[in-house]
Amino acid sequence: MMPVLEAAGLSKHFQARRGIFGGSRGVVRAVDDISFAIESGRTLGVVGESGCGKTTTAKLVLGLEEPTGGSIRFEGRDLHELDTAGQRYYRKSVQAVFQDPYASLSPRMRISDIIAEPLVTNEVVSASGVRKRVAELLDLVGLAERSADLFPHEFSGGQRQRIAIARALALSPKLIVLDEPVSALDVSIRAQILNLLRDLQDQLGLSYLFIAHDLAAVAHMSHTIVVMYLGKIVEMGDAQTLAQTPKHPYTEALFSAALPSHPDERREEIILPGEVPSPLNPPAGCRFHPRCPHAMSVCGQQEPALMQVEDRIVACHLYDRTQRDAATTAGIQFAERRSSRASVGSPS
């Protein structure tokens, strides 16, 4: 299967400046040489903490930021080589749903105008055609047809998010970037929206780039998960196995920090020391090594490359064959513990 979207060596570096006239203070490598692919009809989940680059990645995919390195290919064509028509097609094919449905809908527009806006600006459609499409879209996201004449303030948060989804669907996109689509919603409403997104994916064959800090929601929605730390991908693999048996020490700590779904669920609790360092001055070698419970001397000197480990891609010296052969006991124990580790299933 050909991926819908493919990023190769994608980077976004920002110049940090001192004051308004000051010279450069250095470079923030918000996204640093990352590669991933989103398959058609599948969901790629991105997890990581503040400053890991997941929002910048979303912006790069949406074309809101220009990459400083690497490339994005959409349906096999490099975005840089697209002509005007190709660019227009790309912008129609990639849409977004954001976190706060109170901020993302104009309070002065009727729902019909909000949903129709992308149609009107991008396509030549008759007035009756627009009305028909709006009714279709409202039905698709589970809203009554009469909603079309109302204003956003007449809707609850969950309904507003449905409106935002309807607008994103207006141009029949291939890929939708979902940036924290349920975190602003009430707990009892979140499941409604997650179910809706899954139904739409099955019905329309959509691909999603799903970004959220709720790891269980990401594991639930995604086929593949990418774990980022300070602009780098540290681990990537099948959502289920990655969540159950993380390989990278950061992934392991992150998923162990995720809250349990049941009080009887006993997990190894890994509390990382310190905080995510400033991206302006990331640690040498592996960027995670100052907080890593398994750090070795090589970790502070040499940046680990991404490599295939079983079903996964991991960037960690613990999985370095040469390192293991050098008989770093910690590494061997760690790797053995990984492979023998039982799954972390909840009791229910």
Binding site: V187, L215, L259
Partner: protein
């Protein structure tokens, strides 16, 4: 946690706090007939969606309600004193000293113009009348206790010089500065990153163990309850619909709302299974339906639910539930 033989630290009975409009025509029953208790060293979780009344309940315990809100009924016995009957002046000696609170947004609870040392030392100086130098020394010890590296230099810094996780730990230090008996935490980790949240929760647990603190966690996150709490109160539309030991409630919820909430959360282990969503919206508190407030969304609702409000039934295992379905399996409650 072992059940204490003596009286609970805080005993709330039939408490109601209503928001009343100026003409007295509109009444919002934000907290309605709530009864809860918490023992020393215990952790009580209060979960509910926005508008369920959980934050108003916290403000009621501390008696820091906005002018439109009134405690219209009930009592709050704290160390053998009824907080409802205390004067504002008397409450000033309780707040910050015997009951402290941690809010969601640490930047909003810290004053950007004062040093960390001044802010951590303030409650000590106010409540204990300590001299500045003494209070500052205590402040340094407190920063060490909440694991802030190099407290000597940190006390002279301002909030903007700290990260979000550090700020929340400083708010925690202020909270425990006068060694309160009860600490109320209102969504304390919502603004924190996952690994920082794990650090903070571990810190709270250690502080609780060291000081025998009773903790009230107000949250919408059932995961926090699962990790941290002994007891759980589930609020819906101003009422406690289910209350009891956490593991009992998670294993066999008695109220359909609790059950629906537990089923609607995605789990790490059974992903890509369809979630059980709760249909409809949380109700408008100023226009509650007749009968049980959850009935319009309840999959198990029957005739009676739409007509009569269920009282609090005492279940055999020490739980309470406000649901007509619970009445079948247990003796009638006091209500």
């Amino acid at each position: 946690m072992a059940v204490m033989a003596n009286r609970p630290l805080l005993e709330i009975d039939n408490l109601s706090t209503h928001y009343i409009s100026q003409q007295g025509t509109r009444v919002v029953r934000a907290v309605d007939d709530v009864s809860l208790r918490i023992n020393a060293g215990e952790t009580l979780g209060i979960v509910g969606e926005s508008g369920s009344g959980k934050s108003t309940l916290a403000l009621t315990i501390l008696r820091v309600l906005p002018p439109a809100a009134q405690i219209v009924a009930g009592s709050m016995m704290f160390e053998n004193e009824d907080l409802v009957r205390k004067s504002d002046n008397e409450m000033r000696h309780v707040r910050g000293k015997r009951i402290a609170m941690i809010l969601q947004d640490p930047m909003a609870s810290l004053n950007p113009l004062f040093t960390i040392g001044d802010q951590v030392a303030e409650p000590i100086r106010v409540h204990e009348g300590s001299r500045r130098a003494v209070a500052w020394q205590r402040a340094k010890d407190l920063l060490k206790a909440v694991r802030i590296p190099s407290p000597e230099t940190r006390v002279t810094q301002h909030p903007h010089e700290m990260s979000g996780g550090m700020r929340q730990r400083i708010v925690g230090a202020i909270g425990i500065s006068c060694e309160p008996r009860l600490l109320i935490a209102d969504e304390p980790t919502t603004s924190l990153d996952l690994t920082i949240q794990a650090q903070y929760l571990a810190l709270l647990r250690d502080l609780q163990r060291e000081h025998g603190l009773a903790l009230i966690f107000i949250t919408h996150n059932l995961g926090i309850v699962a990790r941290m709490c002994d007891q759980l109160a589930v609020m819906y539309a101003g009422r406690v619909v289910e209350y009891g030991p956490v593991s009992r409630i998670f294993n066999a919820p008695a109220h359909p709302y609790t059950e629906a909430l537990l089923n609607s959360i995605p789990r790490m282990s059974d992903s890509r299974k369809r979630l059980t969503a709760i249909e409809g919206q949380p109700p408008d508190l100023s226009a509650l339906p007749r009968g049980c407030a959850f009935a319009p969304r309840c999959p198990a609702a029957f005739d009676r639910c739409h007509k009569e409000t269920p009282p609090e039934f005492n279940l055999a295992d020490g739980r309470t539930a406000r649901c007509w379905l619970a009445s079948a399996s247990v003796q009638r409650g006091a209500a």
